[in-house]
Amino acid sequence: MKILVPIKRVADPANANKVKVDDDATKVTSEGLEWVMNPFDEWSLEAALRLTENAAEKARVGEIVVVSITPGEGDTDHIREALGKGAERGIVVPAGTDEQLDASVVAKILAAVVKKEEPDVVLMGKQAADGDSAVAGTKLAELLEWPVVNYATNIATSDEGKTFEVKRELDIGVQTLKVEGPVVFTSSDRILRPDSIKNGVTPDDFEYADLGDLNSRLSNLKNIMAARKKPIDTMTLDDLGVELGVGTEYVKFTLPQGRSGSAEFVETVDELVQKLQTEAKVL
């Protein structure tokens, strides 16, 4: 099974308080921010790794190609990170600026990459932790005329990705779908649960370790070193036949209001109710 995993680099959401907007409030400035792999993409990368390995034998049985569309020169740090975790190959598409890479452009670029790479599955983040638009996956499927299943919580295949049984946990219950590849998936964080992925190769009783607060597995030095020898190809917009053209215009960015920073502890529920009435005046 061959899976394409798109990876975006985003300003570390853990340091969201460092984000600033420029003077005319039409742009978020990235100065001094630490870039990390979009956490939602990390979930999908982990799911893709589990779909393409025999976890009991720690052996890879499929292929993962990670693709990153990166403003400017084409930063490959996060592709390397994914290669360290087990992906086989990387593709970097240096293109424009962050503002120019809206969901429609991203979907067009990814569609062009899919046509060249012909994966069985595209497994992508449900959204990017910066823009939160959550449309690139669906747009990509539309361009490819492929089925799309968003917010997958379980993915199972027993025929190397020809068909899948996918679960989505919704407010009204669990939905189970059968879908034929090639297909676009986006994943929910529940995809990281120890038993969310079945690939017909890893024994069904194999238990993945709980990842805790991690968004994907860690890579050790051996894998980091091995990743340095894995190929990363560059594909330009010319190669892909895609033109930048922004469909989205941002009118204004406003930073969230700072927290007032005062917290008070109360001993009893009565005291809490009283304070909510007399001081906070919300009851």
Binding site: D213, L214, N220, K222
Partner: protein, 383 residues
């Protein structure tokens, strides 16, 4: 605040740091205070550290390690300290770093399979036993006796201050198999389930609380000859070689602890107000912080130089001793100033700097005291 790195660091060190940072934030930091107060961390952490690739660092892949060298071990330990914020946990997890090298360097293939691999997999815990109640600095004078009896050595004596001693599955132990002096010392791997081996007591310490430290007792403890590392009576060289890397490791821990104390203090001084301004509003505080970062940079530079030389094959015991003393002093001073800038909060147990201040006191003692370092320097300078 600038994030300073060692001059020897390459791309892969940055990637390794990033992975170790995630591991420490996820698996250690949330429990740091609890484990330090409890005086122990869960045994299950060894397996997690193995899975995260921490335990295997610096060991060959053929033995189940994740490769790399000493430089990788040091930067990983630094991240574990900086992000895990529990020095005791870091040093407890790392006790194999002094217990395994003699086996890797001088042991047989069978011994490596038996002892090294399960430790790197996080299944067994290893400790190093050199120091005795009667003396630690004078290694050549150690008295734990091992007398050959057929296929066994019969060991009698005791060891103390042994890191991970209460739950180690085996102890790489220095024993006297021959006559007086350094020519009569051997290294035996003594397994905890050997009849005659017992853990005397868990010792209560100034710092390093999450790391257990024990006294070990050997009473007619019968150890198979197959557990002898290298040649009989040739253990002293292995012990001395081990000390050089241990000292660099301790120096690097000092750099990391000082760096953490400094970061905590800068953050605190930016927030805390006195006389209508933040503490960083006082020139005296800014200068103190500047001095702290200067001493850390100096300690980092010398430690880094020493590591680079050692990796290039230059074994300079004198320089390693200098690095240990320099880093130790920087760490002790920085932690003391960190407490001072925190005021009363710096004396309170829930503040990280209070704990670091106590942790720092070990370093001029463990792994060879400051005086012994000066002896080594004096000897290598041949005065």
């Amino acid at each position: 605040m600038k994030q300073r790195r060692y001059l020897f660091e390459q791309d892969e060190h940055a990637q390794l740091r990033a992975e170790m940072r995630k591991f420490a934030r996820n698996a250690i930091a949330p429990h740091a205070h609890e484990w330090e107060e409890a005086g122990i961390f869960p045994r299950a952490l060894y397996a997690e550290a193995a899975e995260a690739g921490m335990l295997g660092l610096g060991y060959p892949e053929a033995l189940g390690g994740s490769g790399g060298d000493f430089s990788h071990v040091l930067v990983a330990a630094e991240e574990i300290v900086l992000e895990g914020k529990s020095v005791g946990t870091c040093v407890g997890l790392g006790s194999h770093g002094i217990a395994l090298p003699p086996i890797v360097n001088f042991g047989s293939d069978a011994q490596k399979e038996r002892f090294v691999r399960p430790v790197l997999e996080g299944k067994k815990i290893a400790a190093l036993g050199i120091t005795e109640p009667g003396g630690g600095s004078d290694v050549a004078g150690l008295r734990t006796k091992a007398v050959r009896d057929g296929d066994h050595y019969v060991v009698n004596g005791s060891k103390t201050f042994i890191t991970s001693g209460t739950r180690a599955d085996f102890v790489t132990t220095a024993v006297r198999t021959g006559g007086e002096g350094h020519g009569g010392i051997s290294l035996l791997v003594i397994e905890a389930d050997t009849p005659g081996f017992s853990v005397g007591k868990k010792l209560a310490k100034t710092g390093w609380w999450a790391s257990d430290t024990a006294e070990l007792v050997f009473e007619d403890c019968r150890v198979p000859v197959a557990n002898l590392i290298g040649q009989e009576n040739a253990g002293f060289v292995a012990i001395m070689m081990n000390f050089v890397s241990e000292r660099l490791m301790l120096a690097a821990q000092c750099v990391a602890i000082a760096e953490l104390a400094y970061r905590e203090t800068v953050a605190y001084a930016r927030e805390r107000r006195a006389f209508g301004k933040t503490l960083t509003g006082f020139q005296v505080t800014r200068h103190k912080l500047a001095e702290m970062s200067t001493r850390i940079a100096a300690a980092r530079a010398l430690t880094g130089e020493c590591v680079a030389r050692s990796l290039a094959g230059e074994n300079d015991a004198g320089l390693a001793a200098m690095a240990k003393n320099t880093a130790t002093d920087a760490c002790s001073w920085v932690c003391d100033q960190a407490v001072q800038i925190h005021g009363g909060y710096g004396y309170m147990r829930e503040y990280v700097v209070e704990r670091l201040y106590r942790d720092a006191r070990l370093y001029p003692i463990g792994g060879g005291t400051r005086e012994i370092m000066n002896e080594i320097i004096a000897k290598t300078e041949s005065y």
